[in-house]
Point group: C2
Chain length 264, copies 2
């Protein structure tokens, strides 16, 4: 029972660091914009600024791909677009399925950024029989019953899960059993997948919580950190210390946003 990992330990084969892989799409996007403006070459400094990183990092990243620049000149935009696309595997077509066609699933289906990068939405799948046949983003929604045949018939290896949290693991299991080996998970749950299956997760709530942390620090600085936790006080006791705030934060409300935890 392998626990869902967000990314692989490290990319051993020919060894491009994971951090570098995660930035390649940023470079690609900036380069694509330059390409559309017919800019022929770009320096590491310019491209780094456009991508929001510093130039040393960019050059180091590119050094893992090969020597694609020209000293004294910079990088050929079109050539680099191709090299990065190839490295990312975007020069081939990736059929994907989206499971769970609620608000988010529909948003994903309509998202234009997929098609232009080699991702083709092979099917939209939902468990609600009332949804079946309804067109979303120009595609008829298919029922979950067809999941396995859709995967097989279209050689789908990438699945997107946009279901409620409660259904995510089950959907994941079916996707994996049918042959999917990469999963992008929008459900707020930790997915368990077998070895060899990659899971990446996007969690809207987590991102906001991280922002809230920093926001709180900012507010604290203004007032010279008056309500600092006071780490020295050590408010330990033993039994359950429950406060009104804890009750709220525990989210007893109708959330439906809780992973199916299974402690050993």
């Amino acid at each position: 029972m392998a626990t869902g990992r967000t990314h692989r330990p490290a990319t051993r084969s020919r060894g491009i660091p994971e951090a570098t892989v995660a930035r390649l799409p940023l470079y690609l996007r900036a380069l694509t914009a330059l390409s559309e403006r017919s800019v022929p070459t770009v320096s590491s400094e310019e491209l780094a600024t456009a991508a929001g990183v510093n130039s040393a990092k960019l050059r180091k990243d590119f050094s893992y791909l090969g020597s694609y620049g020209t000293r004294g000149v910079g990088y050929d935009v079109e050539y680099l677009v191709y090299q990065i696309s190839r490295e990312l595997g975007l020069t081939q077509d990736w059929p994907v399925v989206i499971v769970g066609i609620g608000n988010l699933g529909a948003a994903l289906a309509n998202y234009g950024g997929f098609a232009s990068r080699g991702f083709r939405v092979a099917a939209l799948i939902d468990a609600d029989p009332a949804m079946a046949g309804k067109p979303v983003a120009g595609l008829p929604v298919r029922h979950t019953d067809e999941l396995e045949s859709i995967i097989t018939d279209n050689d789908v290896s990438i699945g997107v899960i946009a279901t409620p949290a409660g259904a995510a693991q089950q959907v994941c299991d079916r996707l994996v059993a049918a042959g999917v080996t990469s999963i992008l998970n929008f459900a707020p749950t930790v997915l368990s997948v077998p070895e060899g299956v990659d899971v990446r997760k996007v969690d809207l709530s987590i991102e906001l919580q991280i922002l809230a942390f920093h926001e709180q620090r900012k507010a604290g600085e203004e007032t010279t950190s008056a309500q600092e936790p006071a780490a020295a006080v050590q408010p330990r006791s033993g039994a359950a210390v429950r406060t009104p705030a804890a009750g709220r934060a525990a989210g007893k409300g109708p959330d439906g946003d809780v992973p199916a935890v299974m402690p050993a």
Copy 2:
């Protein structure tokens, strides 16, 4: 002209590492699930499994918060829920605005995970006059003209941008000018913000591209990496090397998904 950074250099004040901060919401979610099942205590091993990390990392993370566990026993679930909530700033209310009420914006507005964690959707804002007044997730959509007054009146410090890429920077500028200091950006653009403003970004396409990279490697391994880039060959030349694939990958299509790049 500060380039948009995804996260701060490091959290100096009282020094909780950024990597730890990013995991606190995972722990909180797992703990909330345990709390709902009325589990009184949990060991680092159990909680780590539920959160999808290893126990050494979890204990190290918690050590930055203080000594909240009991040796030989584990952690009190309710107490830890409260401590982490407080550390993340979730024991207070954070009014947020969502700008751009398309598919994605509507999905975010309907997302249940916000309210239960101290985030309150203060307003939904869209530039389309036809949307104004329409109810989405129980709230009437407000027009962009009202953006500044909404921010001020509701003391909003966190903004969510779900507009098309082309509008994102402008919306960002207005949010910041009106007093927002944390931004969650769903538009596929690098945002420029002044010092002191935090930007986190969620990019659906980037996540898929990272998956494609690993997926390609998997496929390559099966066939003993027959189509490996051949780093030794160095296919350098100088002028624009354009291939059919590069043209496609450059995304000349009707994408609308390109950041407004501004090279120095």
